[in-house]
């Protein structure tokens, strides 16, 4: 039997093994199912929706800010409110929108692209989501009480110390970010373990899709970059609450230590945000160019190199604090070097398109728009890497323009493009092409109208984070343009949102593979069933669904117990490098424990914030005991004996193929 395309592969696998497998992968319903689910697809969608809500909130904050700045001497909000707005806008966009949104993509897509059935630690995944949601609640509710963070998203000491900000604002900041860090670190570790251990047989590391590479590199960066931030926030909290002197110059502490620690996190963080987004582009471009990505080893190397170099450039955010010139030359060089991996990726996509046959579908438009806008943002980044120019333009609106070009252009464009690209997979519906075009062009125009004038305002000497400005300095027109653009942009995003919502209600049902994609997720139903794949395929190349051998394996392997794993709630474990199949692993069932644990943490952090240390200990105890409940070794049915899980090839061996216990 020869299989023609991905849809055929999906159908063949479902016929052969669908029922046998689906029995073990029930779907929870109702409120209980909603709270206890550990399904990576539900959690991934949930991440994305929550992050989109935070995006809307932070975007509305930005609109209020732009309204205040539309005219000189604006009186829309008071300076105290403005400070909270821009701080929460930056914090929320960076921490509560960009990273979780992309981690939502990762959660949904990683197991599908790898050809497995769930993340390595499904319960930990659910826990990560609940912690993220709780931390977002923690952070955003502070705005209602007027104690939102108000020292900018990087909260420089001493301004963020207890002496100059005595209220709770920065306790909310430090505790909120520590709280969120638990979720981000956990997700990163989960992605790493999944990508290393649960790939489909044959998917060696050099056949892994670029998006997965990007996500894995991002996860490693999270593991290495978040600790400095967590440490800095813990020290800040101790300084503010318990009178330690880490950052207090009069006590021997150092105000610059905060900046070093923050940016040692902060710069890798901007690539933590942008790398998965670039990965999305690397998934969209080959599909619509009808050919594999150009220079795959080089683009993977570029991704890895970006991750590594990004740890050596943090001082470019501190060029004006008076460091030794020699140090600045080094960081300037490193910041320049990091453009080369970016250039590699840009020209890899361009090369793919130049060699390919381009289909200008809506996701592809977003990718093309992204390339242009990201290059514009990137070249201003290169300008900053030159120390004298940075010293002139740092902390001016030129910087604001740069980072919105790379953040909105470099992360939000791919995110929206990715939403349009995988929307059939997420929801099982197709979107309207005409509405998609409207949405793209409105956002593209609004975006450039909002942020391009900021370059000029910055060059004309306008500092950032000013709640108002005097008339007659030559900044009025540019700010008015920016504000008009912001409203146009909001309109475009509103159109985008309504397009998607309309599709959710009225869209046509989507086939498994609407675009003719190359990676494994298109060989599942739209949306995929709880078990994702009825038969785990064997991968022979970078583009499994354009490869007859893999397509055929959907049918052929349906006779192999190893590839079907129909004896329980099981996934297949493979080796780290070469994806040799090892054995089946039993996955945990739905459970409310992650929710309870996250709730305990919410209690603990809220009590810490309000100074109720006993209640904080109680919350931590709830967390601790639910963890113990979670990790208690249980005897699962069938694991005591007779759990042979090997292929038909071998009989009894001494190293028995027992099922494994999972720890998370």
């Amino acid at each position: 039997m020869s299989i023609a395309d991905a849809a055929g592969a999906y159908r063949a696998a479902e016929e052969a093994a669908g029922e046998r497998v689906a029995r073990h992968w029930p779907e929870g319903h109702g409120l209980r199912g909603w709270i206890t689910t550990v399904d990576h697809k539900r959690i991934g969608r949930r991440y994305m929706v929550t992050a989109a809500v935070f995006f809307t909130l932070a975007g509305i904050e930005a609109l209020v800010m732009r309204t205040q700045l539309a005219l000189p001497e604006g009186k829309v909000v008071s300076p105290g409110v403005y400070d909270q707005l821009f701080s929460l806008h930056g914090t929320a966009m960076i921490f509560f929108f960009a990273t979780p949104m992309l981690f939502g993509f990762g959660n949904f897509l990683l197991p599908l692209m790898l050809g497995t059935r769930d993340m390595a630690f499904p319960r930990f995944n659910a826990f990560g989501y609940w912690v993220f949601a709780a931390a977002g609640l923690f952070m955003f509710s502070s705005l209602l009480f007027g104690v939102a963070p108000n020292a900018g998203w990087f909260a420089y000491v001493p301004l963020s110390g207890a002496r100059y900000t005595p209220d709770l604002n920065l306790d909310v900041y430090s505790l909120g970010l520590l709280f969120l860090g638990i979720s981000t670190t956990g997700s990163g570790i989960n992605f790493i373990a999944t990508a290393l251990k649960l790939r489909a047989p044959g998917m060696t590391l050099s056949r892994v899709p670029v998006f997965v590479w990007a996500l894995v590199v991002t996860s490693f960066m999270v593991v290495f970059a978040l600790p400095p931030l967590n440490l800095a926030n813990a020290m800040l909290f101790l300084d503010r609450r318990f009178g330690t002197k880490f950052f207090v110059p009069t006590g021997g502490g150092d105000a610059l230590l905060w900046q070093h620690l923050f940016w040692l996190f902060g710069h890798p963080d901007v690539y933590i945000i942008v790398l998965p987004a670039l990965g999305i582009v690397s998934a969209i471009v080959p599909t619509f160019s009808r050919r594999p990505i150009a220079a795959y080893p080089v683009i993977v190397l570029a991704t890895v190199a970006t991750g590594i170099i990004s740890f050596g450039v943090w001082v470019h955010h501190m060029f004006a604090v008076g460091l030794p010139q020699l140090a600045m030359t080094f960081f300037s060089a490193a910041s320049i070097v990091i453009t080369i991996p970016a250039g590699i990726q840009i020209f890899s996509w361009l090369g793919t398109m130049l060699l390919g046959r381009v289909v200008l579908a809506v996701p592809m438009l977003w990718a093309l728009g992204f390339i242009l806008v990201f290059v514009l943002g990137g070249v201003t980044g290169v300008m900053f890497a030159i120390v004298p120019f940075d010293q002139q333009s740092t902390d001016s609106y030129f910087v604001v323009a740069h980072f919105h070009y790379v953040l909105f252009g470099g992360a939000v464009f791919p995110i929206i493009g990715g939403v349009f690209y995988w929307w059939p997979k997420f929801t099982g519906r197709t979107t309207s092409v005409r509405a998609g075009l409207w949405s793209f062009w409105l956002v593209f125009a609004g975006f450039n109208l909002t942020f391009f004038p900021m370059h000029i305002a910055g060059l004309l000497g306008m500092p950032r984070r000013v709640y108002t400005f005097a008339p007659g300095l030559g900044w009025d027109a540019w700010n008015l343009l920016s504000t008009a653009g912001a409203y146009l942009l909001a309109l475009g995003l509103l159109v985008t949102l309504s397009t998607l919502l309309y599709s959710l209600r009225r869209g046509a049902p989507a086939p498994p593979d609407p675009w003719g994609g190359e990676t494994l997720e298109w060989a599942t139903a739209s949306p995929p069933p709880t078990h994702d794949f009825a038969v785990i395929p064997t991968v022979y190349s970078l583009h499994p669904l354009w490869d007859q051998r893999t397509l055929d394996s959907f049918h052929e392997e349906s006779r192999s117990p190893l590839h079907v794993q129909a004896d329980g709630h099981d996934v297949l474990r493979t080796t780290e490098l070469d994806a040799e199949p090892q054995l089946g692993v039993e996955m945990p069932e739905d459970t409310p424990v992650p929710f309870v644990a996250a709730f305990g943490l919410l209690i603990a952090f809220t009590s810490l914030l309000l100074g109720g240390y006993l209640a904080a200990i109680a919350g931590a105890a709830v967390f601790g005991f639910s963890l113990m409940w979670w990790l208690w070794p249980r005897d699962r049915p069938g694991s005591s004996g007779g759990g042979e899980r090997r292929g038909e090839g071998e009989g009894g061996g001494s190293a028995g193929g027992e099922r494994e216990e999972t720890s998370a």
């Binding site: 453009t339 080369i340 250039g343 130049l354 381009v358 120390v387 740092t394």
Partner: protein, 306 residues
């Protein structure tokens, strides 16, 4: 406008030149990418086009590694040269001015002449001036875009920078590091004057405040000494020796009040004294409830302090 692109100082001029170089390179890069995109959209989307399966590695390495490396090496070298030239000169004869940042105003000291003023820095045109920057509370950043690149004022440290104005003029600058509520109203004005004019300004500033002969200003002086102004402000030559707010010895001669927030006119001065919080919310000067007559004479007195 305080534009970085209309430089009037040596440092700013160098950086403006650098900007045009960087801008040119960026335009080339952006236009190149835009042209390639246009080519793709025009030529690779037609009906008869077939995808080709080459690796494309040569294209990627050439365009993404080799060419950028050459361009970037050149840019880096230019940047290094400018960075070296912009280093603080070790000129022992340069005029040294100490600038202390406060939330949210600038204290300016001329150690050689031994006086203190605020929010306005006078410099002689054409000669190098070294600024020694420190802060009394949180971080600030000293930025006069037309004269020199910015340098931060970091708590617990002293940073140095220098500037040399090329033409006479008044150059507006602003604090460029977020420092709290009124970060947006923390402007500074650098006034470049011919050397002779500057010398006479120095001499004038070094003198204590003139004692008014009589009338409203004399009464204003009595009000100033008797009321709470004296607890926060210094007027040299009177009993007012507070250290919380700006030195008012020659406040009448300044162009702006409250770090550029308002012009220095009697009307604004009166409003500032009565209720500065409605003008610059959150600043450290509380509203001063004064008897109407006292307020008017105080305005008259401060107006005489030139």
């Amino acid at each position: 406008a305080p534009s970085t692109l209309s430089p009037a100082g040596v440092g700013a001029r160098r950086v403006a030149g650098l900007w045009w170089l960087l801008f040119g390179i960026s335009v080339v890069v952006a236009v190149l990418v835009a042209l390639l995109l246009a080519w793709v959209m025009a030529r690779r989307t037609r009906a008869g086009v077939h995808a080709r399966t080459g690796s494309g590695r040569a294209f990627v390495v050439t365009m993404g590694v080799v060419l950028p490396a050459i361009v970037l090496a050149f840019v880096y070298a230019v940047g290094l040269r400018d960075l070296r030239d912009l280093a603080v000169p070790r000129d022992p004869h340069a005029l040294v001015i100490e600038v202390v940042g406060h939330q949210w105003w600038w204290e300016v000291r001329y150690p050689a002449s031994g006086f203190v003023t605020a929010n306005e820095i006078h410099v002689p045109t054409g000669s190098t001036v070294r600024l020694r920057l420190s802060t009394a509370d949180v971080n600030h950043s000293f930025w006069v875009p037309q004269l020199a690149v910015k340098t931060d004022l970091i708590a617990g440290r002293v940073n140095e920078m220098w500037l040399r104005a090329e033409h006479d003029g008044v150059y507006r600058g602003q604090c460029a590091e977020y420092c709290g509520l009124q970060h947006g109203h923390m402007a500074v004005h650098v006034i470049a004057q011919p050397a002779a004019e500057f010398a006479s300004w120095l001499a004038g500033q070094a003198r204590p405040a003139a004692v008014p002969a009589g009338g409203a200003p004399a009464r204003g002086l009595r009000v100033l000494e008797a009321s709470s102004c004296a607890a926060c402000h210094t007027v040299r030559g009177t009993r007012a020796d507070g250290k919380v707010g700006p030195d008012l010895t020659h406040v009448g001669g300044r162009r702006f009040l409250a770090a550029g927030a308002i012009p220095n006119t009697p009307g604004y001065l009166g409003g500032w004294i009565s209720d500065s919080q409605s003008i610059k919310p959150g600043n450290a000067m509380p509203p001063q409830p004064l008897a109407p007559e006292d307020l008017r004479s105080l305005i008259a007195y401060l107006g005489t302090l030139r």
